[in-house]
């Protein structure tokens, strides 16, 4: 207690705590019925709140991963070390959050709370983007689902040893509690829905557009895998992805959202197209290897050829 209220004479007032709500509920024949349903509704609201909080955190972490990835300057099997490290830390945090919510989104609850789990779209965006930057390919939905499920399991595994340490530190630790650990394969995980995947892919096109813009401005080349001149560039990849979405049938669930995303995707494709054209026209006026002011990979300690 930080203090108490006083009356005008300076004496402490007695009843200064918050008054207990004097909710005089008149009991009647239907009260038990409502009391039973109340617990049901409360469990639902509480769960939705918890998921919403975790979702916000996962969204924020995923966005940070995307920011890190936007500092990469080329498509390469190995991301620059410091960026990879940043991503790994974020992923570990995401893994913990996923493991925490996993038990709440099993079975029927997966779709019940899919609106509270918009974070998964963001996570898909981050993971597909990272996969693209490494391999210049689009990761499939099954493959990605496995990655996310693995994350949740890792998070659960990472959380478990902590409990053990804490139990050991306590003087009256019960060893029985620490030994009962379920096998990793049985741990509940978070599954991706088709919507999470497809809408995440839509957002991926936006990130690829930003990536194409910054890399071509800073390195003077369209991003492409490896160094060979005949390599496929990001322009072609964007065209592939664009046609991919154009050929997909209109998703019936939320037409407005689908069409909005489709429109944004088209704009991204066209921006990259324009970049490719500019490169062709103006790039040829520049000597080979010339760039507008050499800008190092933001991960300067990870230059190719630098001593490891």
């Amino acid at each position: 207690m930080s203090g108490f209220k006083r009356d005008r004479n300076g004496n402490a007032k007695k009843n200064d705590g918050p008054k207990a709500p004097s909710k005089n509920i008149v009991r009647n024949a239907y009260t038990p019925l409502f009391e039973g349903l109340r617990d049901e509704l409360e469990a639902h609201h509480d769960r939705r709140d918890r998921l919403g909080k975790a979702s916000r955190d996962i969204t924020a972490l995923s966005k940070k991963i995307i920011f890190s990835l936007q500092r990469v300057r080329k498509i390469d099997n190995d991301l620059p070390q410091d960026i990879q490290k940043e991503i790994n830390t974020r992923l570990a945090e995401i893994a913990k959050l996923l493991a925490a919510i996993a038990p709440e989104v099993q079975g029927i609850n997966r779709y019940r709370y899919s609106r509270s789990l918009v974070c998964l779209e963001e996570l898909v965006e981050a993971l597909t983007f990272a996969h693209y930057l490494k391999t210049q390919t689009l990761i499939g939905d099954d493959e990605l689902s496995a990655v996310v499920e693995d994350l949740a399991r890792q998070g659960a595994a990472a959380a478990a040893p902590e409990d053990e340490v804490m139990a050991d530190a306590g003087t009256d630790a019960t060893p029985a509690a620490a030994t009962a650990k379920p096998a990793a394969a049985e741990l509940p995980t978070v599954s991706l829905t088709d919507d999470d995947y497809v809408y995440g892919l839509f957002d991926l096109t936006g990130e690829m557009m930003r990536f194409a813009t910054t890399t071509s401005a800073l390195t003077g080349k369209m991003a492409s895998g490896g160094g060979a001149a005949d390599q496929r560039t990001i322009v072609e990849d964007m065209h592939d992805l664009g046609s991919f979405f154009e050929m997909l049938p209109l998703r019936a669930g939320n037409k407005i959202q689908w069409e909005k995303k489709l429109e944004v995707m088209r704009q991204s494709v066209q921006k990259v197209e324009k970049l490719g054209y500019d490169r062709m026209i103006r790039g040829s006026e520049r000597p080979d290897g010339w760039v507008d002011g050499w800008v190092p990979d933001l991960s300067s300690n990870d230059q190719p050829g630098s001593p490891e």
Binding site: E236, D240, L248, R251
Partner: protein, 235 residues
Amino acid sequence: MIDPALFDKLKAKIEEDTSVRKELDQIIEELNQHVSYTQGVLSRIHSTPRSKYPTLLPQVEEGIKKEVATIGKLNAFASKYPYYKYNYKWTRAIQDAIATVLLCAWLGGMGTEAKAGEVCRLLTVEEVGAIFGVPVNLLDRDAFHVTVEEYLLGLINIIDDLSRLAMNSVTMGDNELAVLISGFIKDLHAGFQVLNLKNDILRKRVDSIKYAVKKVEDVVYDLSLRNLIPAKASE
């Protein structure tokens, strides 16, 4: 860049989703027709004295039987897919169907061999589920069921209708029914206060109950002012 198999798979998934939605739309449309007919028959309570209920209520029950048959179809089809993926499509129709059953039972219909119908009987969510032949409030497996929210929203639906009936029953000279309704609505109003509601659709609808309470209180006030409350009902 993209594995062609991935495209084919996603395309197939979206196409399947679309055909599921189409099929659901058809079933729900059918359910809506039955519900709308049953509501229509039920609207005659406002001009039918209680003595005629024995001929009116069986007609309502006929409508409800058709609702139940369609809900059976919906149950069989929807249980094949994640329940909450498509729940939003039929939840309104189910709420309305629940309301018809609740109202019919409250008026004395929906009697069974074990338990005869009587006026002022409120079916529980389990009883509604039993009538529809579907589970209620499923938490442990993913299949079609009636949710607690749907039951409560259906219940709020009939409160409005009953408050209207309170007035019309007085017009038909049945003051006792008006007093019964008044007691029922007030009890429910108190019951809903027990729930801790979030700012959602249920909260909004629960807030509307007070207008029904006001309406029936006015009716009872008018009756008591003129000493028209039957002795039996006022006990």
